[in-house]
């Protein structure tokens, strides 16, 4: 255990992350609306020691009832469209919607028309757009942190 903690201390030292005090924390709810999963990997990476978004009070919450931001990945398949809407409507105001990744932005989506309901902006009001295939953890961090200022 001690060895792991020392390893993590070394990673933090080498990452030399800036200490910027944001004015606000954010509770984020993620919905996968048919992604290839690369965006999820990069979103998860924002909690890794080299990025550590949790130190700014940014966290993934388990319920939309606790969330400020709805972060959506994927082109929005027809089978996820209803669940996505239920999640959005469960979020109290003020709420924001973020399209994470090129698929959510409707760029370069592959598939048949019958299976795709997206892009996201045709289904929900989109406030933040994070392009990339997938967006890097740094790009995700920068976009979400912009909301806290």
């Amino acid at each position: 255990m001690y060895v792991l903690l020392r390893h993590l201390q070394r990673v933090r030292r080498e990452a030399a992350l800036p200490r910027r005090a944001g004015a606000r924390s954010l509770a984020i709810r993620h919905v996968d609306a048919g992604s290839c999963n690369a965006c999820e990997h990069e979103l998860t990476a924002t909690a890794a020691p080299q990025y550590d978004l949790q130190r700014f009070g940014l966290d993934i919450v388990a319920s939309p009832r606790h969330a400020d931001v709805l972060l959506v990945t994927g082109p929005v398949t027809t089978r996820m469209a209803d669940s996505l809407r239920v999640v959005y409507e469960a979020m109290p105001e003020p709420r924001r919607v973020a399209a994470l990744g090129d698929c959510a932005l409707g760029c370069g989506v592959l598939g048949t028309v019958a299976e795709l309901a997206g892009p996201l902006e045709e289904l929900l009001p989109v406030d933040i757009r994070i392009p990339g295939c997938p967006p890097t953890p740094q790009a995700i961090a920068d976009a979400i942190l912009a909301l806290t200022r």
Partner: protein, 479 residues
């Protein structure tokens, strides 16, 4: 490290009359073939139905004609064909006599009894989870039948992420079709692309050069590296061991940065093409990469030892989510989940089109108990191997490779590749160099029924851990 066999898996196709279909498939299995997928082709009329059997570096394809859209089911001699028949029914309208009940798989009817197993008894109730989940995880639905916290049975329902990729690829030029295979899954991008490229090259009569085989093997192992580091991190998260989760998340991040350095993308997207490879790594780049990998390997070994010798972590992993060897074989499980149960299969040992060497063999953990601990141990054993393979591949410059016309074209071609989660099969049918049908059946597709089976008799709070010990994809199952 150079194999002497022809540089591709041989495909042997034979036609079977429909009345003898079940017997022919059972015989193929009895002759040592391992069922590895079945798919429908409705591009002509009547439709055709193909069943694939792997036998080392050979793939047998049995084909029959579905007159009147009905065929005998093979689910009774070959339970591993369950999902293939259900998918063919939902997407292609085929019926399978003897598959009773034929539950919807891709179709999502709203009445639960139509797709779940009826579980009755005192105190039995259902817990429904998903498709939206509490953390950052892919969308899928689980219906647990429980008494208290003890799971009696799990019915998973996936295909919420079904995008129709295979259908959308039809009619495209073979080279264009690769993008559809790659897009199926971010974490299997290389495995799926290589399987597609190899199938496409076999179809076009192209044979890969030494450089092409080396480059693809390098990229496959880079993909395996970050995936296995991810899986160890995930299992730590599954038992609430934050230090282990974070340590392996940090190691995985280093692997992703190395991918970016070597191939220009953290997930190696765009690194695989049909018929060629552009990867060009001269000596200075190789030296840097080998140095980083050596350090990463040492740090990984140290972090793994901490987890291995942490009693509170091991106590959570042992005896949980057991998939026994005979069940793994019966259900057609592949990859680390199968090897953890003692099943000696790894497609890297049967890949003449790559660069693994004739002495490659599957990693089986001591004891092979088939529990979460064993599945984790397989990742650790394979990580040691991955570092060794990468060290050897990067010992000489990596140069652009090509595939050259050297064999006869085929209308139906199949290639099998070992993805991080197990054998991925890509079958395609082509006419005039255009795709008529694409079927991508990944290791995750093969393993979901085994995961559901291994979940029974465990506690509900242990499901996330069991799920993470398999760490199957949803995207490449749904396509």
């Amino acid at each position: 490290m150079s194999p002497a066999a022809p540089p591709h898996q041989r495909v042997e196709q034979e036609d079977v009359a429909a009345p003898g279909w079940r017997e022919a498939c059972a015989a193929a299995r009895a002759e040592g073939g391992r069922f590895c997928g079945a798919f429908a082709d409705r591009s002509g009329s009547p439709g055709r139905w193909h069943a694939l059997f792997a036998n080392g570096p050979r793939t047998r394809v049995l084909t029959t004609v579905a007159a009147g859209d009905e065929l005998p089911s093979i689910v009774e001699p070959i339970p591993a064909a369950d999902w293939d028949e259900r998918e063919a029914h939902d997407l292609y309208g085929l019926r399978f006599a003897g598959h009773q009940p034929l539950r919807p798989l891709v179709a999502h009817p709203s009445d639960t009894p139509s797709w779940t197993v009826a579980v009755e008894g005192e105190g039995v109730h259902e817990v429904a989870v998903g498709p939206v989940h509490a953390g950052v995880i892919e969308s899928g639905h689980f219906r647990f039948h429980v008494v208290g916290e003890r799971i009696l049975h799990l019915d998973p329902r996936l295909f919420y992420k079904h995008r129709g990729l295979e259908r959308a690829a039809e009619g495209r030029e073979l080279a264009e079709g690769l993008a559809f295979a790659q897009r199926a899954c971010g974490a299997c991008a290389v495995a799926n692309s290589v399987a597609y490229a190899q199938a496409g090259e076999l179809a076009l009569g192209l044979v890969p050069s030494r450089e092409l085989r080396r480059a693809r093997t390098l990229l496959l192992e880079l993909e395996r590296l970050y995936n296995h580091l991810n899986d160890v991190a995930a299992v730590c998260a599954g038992v609430g061991f934050a230090a282990g989760n974070m340590a392996f998340a940090a190691l995985k991040e280093r692997a992703l940065r190395l991918n970016d350095e070597l191939a220009g993308h953290r997930f190696l997207f765009g690194s695989i093409e049909l018929g060629a490879s552009a990867l060009d790594l001269p000596s200075p780049a190789l030296e840097r990469a080998r140095g980083e990998l050596r350090e990463l390997g040492q740090d990984t070994a140290r972090a793994w030892r901490e987890i291995q010798f942490s009693p509170s972590v091991q106590a959570r992993l042992e005896g949980v989510g057991i998939l026994a060897g005979e069940d793994a074989v019966r259900l057609g499980a592949v990859g680390p989940a199968a090897r953890a149960a003692g099943v000696r299969i790894d497609t890297r040992a049967a890949s003449p089109g790559l660069w693994y060497g004739s002495s490659f063999s599957a990693a089986i953990p001591p004891g092979a108990r088939g529990d979460v601990a064993a599945r984790l141990e397989v990742r650790a054993l394979e990580l040691v191997e991955v570092f060794a393979i990468l060290e050897e591949l990067l010992a000489a410059p990596v140069r652009p490779g090509v595939a050259s016309p050297e064999s006869a074209p085929l209308a139906l071609a199949v290639a099998r590749v070992e993805s991080p989660r197990g054998e991925t099969v890509c079958a395609l049918e082509q006419g005039a160099s255009r795709l008529r049908r694409l079927r991508l059946r990944t290791g995750s597709y093969a393993n979901w029924p085994a995961l559901a089976f291994a979940t029974a008799e465990n506690l509900l709070p242990d499901f996330p851990l069991i799920n993470k010990s398999f760490e199957l994809c949803y995207a490449c199952v749904d396509r």
